[in-house]
């Protein structure tokens, strides 16, 4: 299934609906769309469609269904867990040409956008109104709001404000059966179950978002960004829970260890302290007195943990420079090694010190270099295992070390993913966090949206859990969804 020759009838029908220029199916196009930003290499792309409207998305879904072919929605393809990787020749429905900001209501703090709007473009559009869209993943220059909804994306500034789910009021969705549903609403308590909340983070397995009402956040009155340099990683990690424990929830607390600080400094010359074992980038915002008081608390807690250097950005330009180093860290690591595997787990903040130690031990044991740049404030680890893909056998070591980091995070009371999602990458780990009963309940949620497994099948839930899926379906009275 999925080879060019098998697809002739499917392609003909898609072309009939969208036109030749918006249905791609050459081997080059398929190669371009069979992967996301992860190392996952098992994808097999069917025809690739570029709809421009909800009606065209419906058409794509219906055509795929008639040809008994699954479909997968795709935004910018920046995902890191394989969520948008097509399996078994799935029809790829790319939403990047649905990229209009439909309306902005500055008074009621809501904007309607199409799924292909790029995250940073939205905040740039909002800047003259002194508003922004709070989730700011590191890929925000490329990733789309539709992708953010699918992954329930985070970012540095989700510490105080919450991840994407907290910023989505309503989603128009093309369901896997081709029906269109409006989930959630602009009113505070839409009638019925919170299907909006269930849909966000569904990794494309529950349908395709075609219009999204996002909550807009007013820019803070004041912002202070601090750079704290520590001689010991432990002290930096302990400062994080110390700040929260002292009753301050900063807008962001990011941590970078020495290796990645050096790589970022070489790249952007932000003036990061190169003698520090770890740095914290702490941002507090709000009204003036609140901000001043919070800066004092952060400094006090940092000094209690032997901070070596404290730098307070004096103006917006310096603040942006400090952030530029953080935000370009992933690009900067290419100077160290050609490849990296980026992990994403969460641990309770108070366990950061010990889990960080374990991460270094695990990497050393597998003879791998590790760099850490992560959302320390919410315990969201992002260890980068560095390697050179030309070295024979190195990927096995990378995967083994990754599995141990995941296990260490769970053993510390953590979870598998803080913002990248499960996709294909972490399916096999799901049973480490959830019982079969837990997974059966998740399978029910999925089955309610997609009883026949048409939308991005083979993702998120471990393959065994699909049995529970089917068993649940058999208990449904006849005719329930006719």
């Amino acid at each position: 299934m999925g080879s060019t020759s098998d697809d002739a009838a499917l392609i003909a029908e898609l072309v009939d609906r969208l036109g030749h220029d918006r249905v791609h199916h050459s081997s080059v196009d398929r190669a371009l769309h069979r992967r996301d930003a992860s190392l996952i290499d098992v994808g097999e792309s069917g025809p690739i469609c570029f709809p421009r409207s909800t009606a065209e998305v419906v058409a794509c879904v219906q055509v795929a269904r008639r040809h008994d072919r699954p479909f997968v929605a795709r935004g910018a393809g920046t995902g890191l867990a394989g969520g948008a990787v097509p399996l078994e020749g799935a029809v790829v429905i790319v939403t990047t040409r649905m990229d209009a900001v439909l309306s902005i209501d500055a008074e009621n703090l809501v904007a309607w956008v199409e799924p292909g709007v790029v995250n940073l473009d939205l905040s740039r559009r909002l800047a003259p109104l002194r508003l922004h869209f709070a989730p700011d993943p590191s890929s925000q220059q490329a990733c789309t709001i539709g992708g953010n909804v699918a992954n329930n994306s985070g970012g540095p500034h989700c510490l105080a404000l919450g991840v994407t789910s907290a910023h989505v009021l309503a989603v128009e969705v093309v369901l896997p059966d081709g029906e269109v549903a409006m989930l959630g609403g602009l009113d505070p308590d839409p009638v019925g179950y919170d299907l909006r909340g269930a849909f966000v983070g569904g990794e494309g397995t529950l349908g395709i978002a075609t219009r999204i009402a996002v909550r807009l956040t007013p820019n803070p009155v004041e912002v202070r960004t601090m750079l704290l340099g520590f001689g010991q990683v432990d002290d930096a990690a302990a400062t994080v829970s110390g700040i929260i424990g002292a009753g301050v929830v900063p807008a962001a607390i990011e941590m970078m260890d020495a290796l990645i600080t050096r790589a970022a400094e070489d790249f952007v010359h932000a003036g990061y302290p190169l003698d520090a074992a770890a740095i914290l980038l702490v941002e507090v915002d709000g009204p003036p007195a609140r901000v001043a008081a919070d800066v004092e608390v952060v400094e006090r807690v940092a000094r209690e943990h032997r901070v070596g250097s404290v730098r307070l950005a004096s103006d917006a330009a310096e603040r942006e420079l400090l952030w530029k180093g953080r935000k370009s860290a992933f690009g900067a690591v290419a100077r160290v090694m050609p490849n990296y595997y980026l992990h994403d787990t969460v641990v309770p903040r108070r366990r950061l010190v010990e889990v960080m130690r374990q991460v270094y031990e695990i990497a050393a044991r597998h003879d791998l270099l590790v760099m850490n740049v992560f959302h320390a404030g919410d315990g969201n680890l992002h260890p980068l295992l560095m390697f050179d893909g030309r070295e024979p056998g190195v990927l096995e070591r990378v995967h083994a070390a990754g599995a141990e980091i995941v296990a260490a995070s769970l053993a510390a009371g953590g979870v598998l993913s803080g913002e990248h999602g499960i996709g294909l990458e972490k399916q096999s780990f799901m049973e480490l966090q959830f019982s079969s009963d837990d997974l059966a309940a998740q399978a029910r949620l999925r089955a309610a949206f997609d009883p026949y497994g048409r939308s991005n099948p083979g993702k998120v839930l471990p393959l065994g859990a699909s049995c529970a899926d089917v068993a649940s379906l058999r208990r449904v009275p006849d005719g329930t969804w006719i």
Binding site: S165, L175, M182, L186, P188, Y193, D194, G418, A448, L461
Partner: protein
């Protein structure tokens, strides 16, 4: 290092699961303060209650684990010692689990967000009498499907909430209610964004929270615009309406009587209940499938329907 694996449940939850069982209609009872929301459960249905009591408070984690049967007031008092709070809606005398199952948010929603967003993890008893853990133990988590959002406001129809892990927040150092002749949309420029803005068609009540200096500065701004400090917001009529906040101006001209509206949110408190809201056919189908999959025999809280709340 401990071997990772699904975490065990404490005994009180196993007892609840056994009590719920897998046969016959059963109702979860909290404080009975919102017992009529979404329809009533028949009197002869067997009743169960969730475990009471606080399991653990982690101030540096900003989380609290609590039995769902714990009175909300007890949770609030316990968190006060560490200068934190969990802000969920619900009437006086209600339980934590009841407030989450009903899903009402506090009038402080502009500052603290909707109630559903504090639910990090829930242990529920399903219709098959088995314990299920939804969500996860950390403040950030996208592992698997977001059952917690589905459970908040579900009126117990998908599973009974036995225990929850909630996100806490710092208590504001100072809170003050200001009353004045302001209208929505003409709210003065304040350094503190109001934690609540109530409006009855002629007057507004603004709740200011935060650092004392910021709050006092904003109080000064409001006093200069005809405002005065008051002890409390106006009494809220008993029924809650959920309206698009951009449409609140129309309340002045409808014929459903007086109101106290939450400006910027859209919750409107009135003497009469909101007429039943229609949903589209696709959303209705999703609801039917959801209840059919989670509770095929309709044994959990029979008589209550989220589409009729």
């Amino acid at each position: 290092m401990d071997a990772p694996g699904p975490r065990p449940f404490r005994a009180a939850l196993h007892e609840l699961a056994a009590e719920v069982g897998d046969q016959g209609p059963v109702a979860m009872v909290g404080g009975r303060t919102a017992w009529d929301v979404g329809g009533s459960v028949a009197d002869d249905v067997r009743e169960v209650r969730a475990p009471e009591g606080i399991v653990s408070i982690e101030p540096a984690e900003m989380t609290v684990r609590v039995g769902a049967g714990t009175p909300a007031a007890e949770l609030d008092a316990a968190l006060a010692d560490s200068g934190q709070e969990v802000v969920i809606g619900g009437r006086k005398g209600g339980t934590v689990g009841g407030a989450l199952a009903v899903g009402w948010s506090s009038i402080r929603r502009p500052a603290v967000g909707p109630a559903r967003d504090c639910l990090l993890e829930a242990v529920i008893v399903g219709a098959d009498g088995r314990l299920v853990r939804a969500g996860g133990p950390t403040v950030k988590n996208v592992t698997g499907y977001d059952l917690c959002r589905l459970l908040a406001g579900s009126l117990g129809t998908l599973g009974f909430i036995g225990e929850v892990l909630l996100r806490t927040r710092p208590r504001p150092e100072l809170s003050a209610w200001m009353r004045g002749p302001w209208e929505p949309g003409v709210e003065p420029r304040l350094v503190v964004r109001p934690a609540a803005h109530l409006w009855d068609g002629t007057r507004s009540w603004l709740l200011l929270e935060g650092h004392p200096d910021d709050v006092e500065r904003s109080m000064g701004t409001l006093q200069a615009e005809g405002g005065q400090e008051v002890d409390a917001p106006p009494p809220l009529p008993p029924h809650r309406w959920s309206l698009d906040p951009s449409t609140l101006g129309a309340l002045l001209h409808d014929d459903h009587g007086g109101f106290v509206a939450e400006v910027g949110v859209g919750t409107v408190h009135r003497d009469l209940p909101q007429p039943v809201r229609e949903v589209g056919p696709a959303v209705r189908t999703l609801h039917q499938r959801m209840t059919a999959l989670f509770d095929p025999s309709g044994r959990l809280n029979p008589g209550r329907d989220v589409l009729h709340r």
